[in-house]
Amino acid sequence: MEYAAVDVARAQFAVTTIFHMLWPLLSIGLSLFMVVMEIMWLRTGDEMYYRQVRFWSILFILTFGIGVASGVPLEFQFGTNWSRFSAATGNIVGNLLAFEASMSFALEAAFLAVFIFGWNRVSRRMHLFSNIMVAFGASLSAFWIMAANSWMQTPAGVSLEGGKIAITNYLQATFNPDLPVAFTHIWVASIETTLFFVGGICAWYILRNRNVDFFLKAFKIMVIIGIVVAPLQIFLGDASGLTVIKHQPAKAAAMEAHWVTNPPDTSASWVLVAQPDQKEQDNDWEVKIPYMLSILSTHSIKGQVVGLKDFPINDQPPVTLPFYAFRIMVLLGFIMLFLVLWALWQWYRKRLRVESAPKHRIFWNFWLYGIPAGFLATECGWIVREVGRQPWLVYGIMRTNEGVSPVDITATVTSLSLFIIVYLLLLGLFIYFTDRILKKGPDMISPLPTFRKPNSTGGD
């Protein structure tokens, strides 16, 4: 009974997180992108940049709306479904979420009003300032959420007295070992995800020969950002892996389906694909590359890599899911790098010109179908992160089944089913309305905003 309740609560957290994550990924990236566009508008006076901000802000507000709608339940879910975890860790996880709400979300939501509705009510400088506050709030939000989550991965600054978690050093707890790389990795992920979302939409228009000039401009900015971001993300992924090996060796072993520690002076082979078998504590079959795991994990040929069998079975995370999710993420990371390099090549060969661009249909189709790449990669990364932490809720301190609420299972099953239905509906509607917005296209004719003083009763 207890066991089943934990499973339902976990399933609900997984469903709501996986769904919620899609939106901030996009809104963080889009908000930064719109800051760039609005600065360009004020600096160059080129009206096209203004129209870029207006066009992308339509998708931004839709994204933000679903993000808030799906994020608020997530905040309250700690209390509804994980009340014992909340009671035990409120003094740090709750604090960090309070920072998130007060420092970042409040900032973002308030200035969003000016950003979306204030074009005619504030000066252009003030509008840019609001745009920057929205973007800053969105990114800062990710920082605090990652601080809370990474504390659960590498809980620092705590002592355990009489079974109670006491925080001894708040700075250590906040800036725990996992935070720097975890935050950077996900922040860059949101930029990269947005890059492919925006790039794919540009491709959609260019393939249809609509507003080619407008979308080539946006696309080129994406390519410039991509040259930095795509390789950087692969480097950050490596750094993130090293942190996991150091602090969560069981997770690292599960990600690689690596069961037996290689004896000193030998090399660990890297399992490319396999069918992991947790019962047998081995892989049923596997394709291996010699030396490779030692090189990847320790950056040396004969580095020792701890195998999963070194941990008691009830301290082991599941293997199959993290193993494959990790591989999909890495593969997508390299595919995205390839797409950026391809775009750079096209640019170099002067194929990103208004007259000739739409002719390169294969190239644009790759970018169009690349839209989900960033989302998928980030979700896979998150699955590795969270499933790999099991069976712990707070790594090494609190087990997942110790944190769950004493809520009747019928209530949780009902709410889980409702979340699944509503979220599928929302995803469908987002795609439907995005399609409508795209078909309508950017507004190239409305007059530029004019600043009217408030209380002038409007109308004129």
Binding site: I61, L62, F64, G65, I66, V68, A69, V72, P73, E75, F76, F78, G79, T80, N81, S83, S86, A87, T89, G90, N91, V93, G94, N95, L96, L97, A98, F99, E100, A101, S102, M103, F105, A106, L107, A109, A110, F111, L112, A113, V114, F117, W119, N120, V122, A166, I167, Y170, P406, V407, A411, S415, V422, L426, F433, R452, P454, S456, T457, G458
Partner: protein
Amino acid sequence: MADFLPMLWYFLLVVTMTLFIILDGADLGIGVLSLGVGESRRSAMVAAIGPLWYANETWLVVGGATLFGAFPLAYGVILSSLYIPAMMLLFGLIFRAVSIEFRSHSEHKRLWGIAFGIGCLLAVAGQGLIFGGLFSNLKIEGGSFAGRPWDWLNAWSVIIALGVLAAYAMMGAAHLVRKTEGEGQIQNRWLLLGSASVALASFVAVVVLMMLGYAPVSLVWSKPPQVYFVPLFLLVTLLGFVMLLISSRGGKSDKIPYILAVIVFLGTAAATIGGIFPYLIPFSLSIAQAASPQASLVFMLFGAGIILPIIILYNLYVHRVFAGKVYEDEAESNY
């Protein structure tokens, strides 16, 4: 001194939640009222809450996180014991948020307008039942909820929830009066009169039931020190109601009804908080019992406490930017 920090955080929590109830209460109340009007008036209603409802909902998020960080025990107990109304609130907020966004892009404005109204109704009903449920003698053992999933549902909590529903509608109508002019304002004044009457009736019913001892959990007002101020706050609320009813139809000013509605909310809040003090959940979990350790409250004060006045300042700025009547071209087009 040991008590000072929990009390300070309790104060900040009360400020945050009161701001949420007053500011977003008006938005949600307008949503509830929009279920009873035609499509063209609904457009005006959505426009009236348009720019600021995200900022207003923020206060719930800040309040929830404050509760989590400063009073983790209460956060867990309240949300797990009131699981079903909490889910009503959350799903209601989901529907409200997405319906407003989808409505602006859809040809089926009526459909999304109704979804918006139902979302608001669900969110307000959830809040009302949470509020009523907290006064339903929830069973707490060893810092954890020990009752059954439907314990919060009884005649008492339903009466309170109805009162909350009417009061939010009243707040919404008062806000609409402030935001509209001409014929639209006259119609909104009727809505104000209706909702304020129902809210007053519920208020009187709740107070009388408590006085007669029919309530599962009652306010403390017969003993000092409560005896000195709880009746006073209740009286202020009653007076506020009466003046609101008078000003709703007759008054010339379009701001006075809103101010009176705020006074009604503040009076009720003060009486409730005073009447259960020093408990967070009446009468089983006290503020001090539920509080995080001192070091945690200090840490949070540096992070979140200092920032609260700043949030209030920039929210004032944003509210000022959008003060006055709704611009006609803002009604729909700014998306």
